[in-house]
């Protein structure tokens, strides 16, 4: 591989403060918990100190949201729409700032935050803005909002997950209390500033930062009408148990272990690109990542050779470099988990391979990794690793591919690669997953519903379907 000169995006566009408070009722206020530090995972440098919301702070945020609910839900839909359009426009205006901040706090390559995350965030607000005055046409009968939505989001797509939660909630007339992940709070706090620039009424959006305890306080708060969570299946179960019997409406978008199925007639180069995008996009920190490659036995050798060749060209390093393909692992904790599961893969007998790949001395890094000779019983075939680790299994017949693909408690996504149209549709019918990408992978759009079957959670985000979670149906 030839060398590229460094091409770093400038950090100057971001004005980082040394400390951040909570955003409650339109104001930044101090938190009463012990503040925490958020670090740049590519360098381990501390970016800022961030307030921790105690349960009292969460209560204040919920009260502010409750008070704002009266005003916000009473606004004509067309007026709510205009606020959301404004927010979408300001996101576009401040796109570079958001992208750089996201890459700093999360570790994802600027190419992705700039070209995928932030454009999708703006698009999501545009999309749901347009629904705000058309809800009675959405097919859910009632167009009544639920009230206060408590929303807890993960660290893998911090701003995009915020958009997925806040845009439909606000469009339907709800107000929100949102808790960003403790390792990636900064773009949510910048979003708070965007709400102020848009003159959004105070209390309509409240951002409370903190770790699991803060999230638990949001979920358990008695005056929250709706809980939306994106994160691990493990935490999803706890939330479902907490919410049981309260009558709160619940949507959960949880883990996955998606099969990416390649048939012998697939266009190999395109499939290789799709496999790489499927598992190495965002360092594999993607709930719908194609983490199990199911390849038809007859083309295994050819496909793996092409895949290994391609992995050798991936550039790992500085997330702010515009040529970087693979950035930093988001946290030391996540890196430890990826290492543990990969070591387990080896000790259980799968064969591990990585391209020659120099890891930076500081920060949290993991090379793109393949496991071959994987059995369905192996941990690397069953557990969600949430990192740049691909497990390769084989199959002979379409029926066997379906059987293996569905042999998981998860059901978020699946991929199919074949030139035969009827086979795509046959497979898509039988794959028990909420999203099926055929001859493509990891595509997202605000108009397209996203969410899982089985233990990948319930409810959909995006599209007309995404409104259901925020309306009294």
């Amino acid at each position: 591989m030839f060398e590229y000169a460094p091409a770093p995006e400038s950090r100057d566009v971001v004005d980082l403060k040394s400390s951040y408070g909570l955003f409650i009722n339109g104001e930044f206020v101090d938190g009463s918990g012990t503040p925490f530090k958020t670090v740049n995972p590519a360098t381990e440098e501390t970016l800022a100190e961030v307030a921790t919301a105690s349960s009292d702070d969460v209560d204040r945020a919920v009260q502010a949201a409750r008070k704002a609910f009266g005003v916000w839900s009473a606004l004509p839909g067309a007026e709510r729409a205009k606020y959301l359009f404004r927010i979408a426009r300001i996101i576009q205006e401040r796109a570079r700032e958001l992208a750089v901040l996201e890459s700093l706090d999360n570790g994802k390559p600027i190419r992705e935050s700039r070209d995928v995350d932030v454009p999708l965030v703006a698009a999501h607000f545009f999309y749901y803005a347009g629904w705000a005055d058309k809800l009675e046409y959405a097919g859910f009968g009632s167009a009544k909002p639920l009230g206060v939505a408590g929303q807890v989001i993960p660290w893998n797509f911090p701003l995009l997950m915020l958009a997925w939660k806040i845009a439909p909630a606000l469009a339907c007339g709800n107000t929100v209390v949102l808790k960003p992940a403790e390792t990636t709070p900064l773009t949510a706090l910048l979003f708070a500033d965007i709400c102020r620039q848009a003159d959004l009424p105070p209390g309509v959006v409240n951002i409370v930062t903190g770790a699991g305890e803060t999230g638990a306080a949001v979920v358990a708060h008695p005056d929250v009408n709706k809980v939306a969570f994106t994160g691990s299946t493990e935490v999803g179960r706890i939330i479902a148990r907490t919410v049981a019997g309260t009558g709160k409406k619940l949507t959960l978008e949880l883990g996955g272990k998606a099969a990416n199925i390649v048939f012998d007639d697939a266009a190999v180069d395109q499939a290789v690109e799709g496999i790489v995008n499927g598992i190495f996009f965002n360092q594999g920190h993607v709930c719908c990542a194609g983490s199990r490659l199911l390849v038809q036995e007859s083309i295994q050798e050819e496909l793996l050779a092409a895949l290994k060749r391609r992995l050798g060209t991936l550039r790992l390093g500085d997330p702010l470099d515009k040529n970087t393909d693979i950035g930093a692992i988001n946290s030391a904790e996540q890196l430890a988990k990826i290492r543990r599961l990969s070591d387990l893969g080896e000790s259980e007998g799968a064969e591990r391979w990585s391209p020659a790949c120099e890891l930076p001395g500081k920060g949290f890094w993991f090379p793109p990794t393949l496991f071959t000779g994987v059995a369905q019983s192996h941990s690397v075939a069953r557990e969600e690793i949430f990192g740049p680790v691909l497990s390769v299994l084989t199959f002979r017949t379409p029926a066997e591919a379906v059987e293996k693909a569905n042999n998981t408690p998860y059901g978020l996504s699946a991929g199919v690669w074949t030139e035969k149209g009827s086979r795509i549709l046959w497979m898509a019918d039988r794959l028990r997953a909420g999203v099926v990408w055929a001859n493509t992978f990891n595509k997202f759009d605000p108009a397209s519903p996203f969410g899982g079957f089985k233990e990948s959670g319930f409810g959909r985000e995006g599209g007309r379907h995404g409104l259901e979670a925020y309306l009294e149906v």
Partner: protein
Amino acid sequence: MSRLSVRKTYKLYIGGAFPRSESGRSYPVTSAKGDFLANASRASRKDARDAVVAARKAFPGWSGATAYNRGQILYRIAEMLEGRRAQFADELGGGKRAALEQVDATVDRLVWYAGWSDKIASVHGAANPVAGPYFNLSTPEPTGVVAVVAPADPLLGLVSVVAPAIVTGNTCVVVASEPSPLGAITLSEVLATSDLPGGVVNVLTGRQSELAPWLAAHMDVNAIDLTGVADADLALSCEQAAAENLKRVLRPAAAPDWAADPGIGRMTAFLETKTVWHPVGI
């Protein structure tokens, strides 16, 4: 001398067959006035597991059948029920006219749901105009195996919870009303003669407080309908147990009025949305 009648043995309905409870247990069922009617099977945990296995086995075939075919079969159930109108009215007891009205309403409900089989995808699916060269379609898909704790209303209530679950391709395990389980077993005879594949509907009779928690905690059940659970503590514990494998839970805030327009909520509660993407190109 008057003839002694031949009574029916009320058994369970699992996988298209009518077995007794493997536990050998039964419990007496009485009329509203307290007269003995029959000994119903008191299903065990093993029976509940067998029923889930039967429902899971039936799922690929039933969910893979065409919507038209499922609609035909639901309509066939209505036909069979209509043919046994008098028998069902007799079993319901009470005033004859009121009982016949209940049976008629039940037949009509089945016909209503039968018609939904090939329309729900049009109403609940979507063609999504994404910002790129992709074909993108969302379709409603059945959730899987649904545990249904049936309400006390032994016929209209029962059919009003079972029909919406199965018309979209789910299979189910039904816990019949504990005090009035006999209608559910007689309905099973109708189901068994309506071309409904065995295992699509499985009926357990017995103690709700025993059966519901087993099904709520069963890891191969995808969803649970708690409509028939009147005991709030039992409903809560079932809802908590259901969290373990993230079952979809239907627990109406108030007891439903079975005479009212049912809407599509009972169908959509047990539907997943599947979205398929494909690039557009030459």
